[in-house]
Symmetry: C2
């Protein structure tokens, strides 16, 4: 499916980045230009995480959605670039706070900002980037965009708090788990797409379609992330494997294995996840149980379903290289697990 | 000066609250109504800090500035109430993050939210309240208000980061210290006043005057706070005395005592503040040095100067009970130290 069909996961993003290379370069310039502050620690810490790379997946979605909806038109315009940078700032702010909350030491395979600069600076620079994101939106001047992104920001925080509330609780329903996934991850994917679509001033159905694409890609992305935490090696994932287990996070692989296990297995999960009593061998045992019950496979199958829903949503758009690239990005979210 | 002259500090706020009692009650209802979320932990934690009282000083400034500028007029309106709630949400979000950063165990004489609910929940609920504040602004629909408050939010974060960067550094200049004070505290006082003034659609000079009032009151307020940290007893202040000393925060009392001290005293400050090597008797010794050098008195005198500047700024307004009440609030920031 799509021009890049058959390429491996990373190449789908490379194709999208290439199609949008000028926009992406402009977005990166805006990011660097707007994370400045007279307080030197702010650009230092921000550079560690914003400028150090990352896939720029969310701003790419904003740029792609704008272009797919005909923005900028012949008259030109840079609003999509500014708003893509704004989306990346919101994402970065949540990453900084996430890593504090999770006490993570690695991010994208490098030392996390909190590990280098401390939790305090990470909390405060996250706040700064969040505020700066709103300044960028205010400069853009669209109340519709502001409504979408302030709603997304509130939803992200709700998802994160719900995740905290369900931590160590094996009675968490799959429905609650999916609420967490939609909130903490997929809502920003959806908003990133919707904001791009708004710029094109096209029929509402197109903005809805792109928001649905973003929401479903985001869910697929997070489900795969949760699967990889029990499957990937550290190099591939760029983060410590078993983080979710150690933190007692409730994710689909655990819920699936717990639901399928007998009394002894349930006792194991209760001790390790609910009571947080873990010995050095427990992660290996957890990985074995999850493998035996096919919980990774089941999680990835669910993710594939969401990726397909994402692709279906794009049917309202005519065939075009950009649409094909977005279809491939949906595949990429799944393929990166292989 | 003013109708409430001669009353003690707390009464100045009581007078202002009484003059604005209906607005304040409406603001409190909005605060409670809008901190709801399907995620139960959010209103629980928010109630601990938002609904548990506090002086509502910042939202009172928004309400007072609006009324002083003739909003609402005969046609009515509730925008000042909504924006006052929004200002309180921003303030509360920063309090939650501050207490995490400072590892504070007390807030307004009660256990702080992070002490009760943990740092993680405090960071994330702070993020939620910040996002909700922006949603309230977007509902209000004024890009001018959004610009003022998103700028203030960025400035607050910059002030907090600068404070972190100057921590434990006795070479910090008074100028840098004042930048911290303006950023972390006074900028929101100024924005709270300016936002109220914007609603009245009066000449720009009046918004400028109210913003200057807010900025100067905010600086006075923080200087007194910093003085009280080396002077007040725990009951009066509602927080642990000596917090700033233990954290190695650079405040005016310390800079003044350090600047006036001889070699032995400087060595004491370097050991305790710069090297964070503190023994149980050190706080008492610090308090003695600060008293001996008149550093509290000097700090309060500076604060009084800012309070006078705040009062001068209000001269553009005709005499009225509300103006007199604001003049008395400026006095209150000083008098609460006695």
């Amino acid at each position: 499916m799509g021009v890049a069909a058959g390429v491996d996961g990373g190449d789908a993003l490379a194709v999208l980045s290439a199609l949008l290379s000028e926009d992406l370069a402009a977005c990166n310039r805006t990011i660097v230009a707007r994370m400045t502050s007279p307080v030197a620690l702010i650009p230092q810490l921000a550079a560690h995480i914003v400028a150090a790379g990352g896939k720029r997946l969310r701003p790419l979605l904003t740029l792609a959605a704008a272009r797919l909806c005909g923005y900028p038109d012949a008259a030109g315009g840079e609003r999509h670039v500014q708003l893509a940078a704004c989306v990346e700032f919101i994402h970065t702010a949540t990453l900084l706070h996430d890593d504090v909350v999770d006490e993570s030491l690695l991010r994208r395979g490098l030392a996390s900002a909190n590990a280098v600069f401390g939790n305090k600076a990470s909390v405060l620079v996250g706040d700064f980037l969040f505020a700066r994101a709103f300044q960028l939106m205010v400069e853009d001047g669209s109340l519709e965009v502001l409504a979408v992104l302030s709603q997304a920001a509130a939803t992200i925080a709700e998802g994160e708090v719900l995740q905290l509330a369900t931590q160590n609780d094996l009675s968490t329903s799959e429905e609650s788990y999916l609420e967490v996934v939609k909130g903490k991850t997929a809502s920003l994917f959806a908003a990133a797409c919707r904001v791009g679509a708004i710029l094109g001033a096209r029929p509402a159905a197109e903005a809805e379609a792109l928001a649905a694409y973003g929401m479903n890609v985001g869910i697929a992305f997070q489900l795969v992330d949760d699967a990889l935490d029990y499957a990937a090696d550290q190099v591939q994932l760029g983060k410590t494997v078993g983080d979710d287990f150690r933190e007692g996070k409730i994710t689909l692989p655990v819920l699936a294995a717990y639901g399928a296990g007998g009394a002894a297995e349930r006792a194991f999960w209760k001790r390790t996840i609910e009571d947080s009593e873990q010995s050095p061998d427990d992660l290996d045992h957890a990985l074995r149980l999850i493998r035996e019950h096919g919980a990774i496979k089941a999680t990835l199958a669910r993710a594939a379903g969401y990726a397909q829903s994402a692709q279906s949503a794009l049917r309202v758009f005519p065939e075009a290289r950009l649409r094909e690239a977005l279809l491939d990005v949906a595949d990429y979210t799944i393929r990166r697990a292989r």
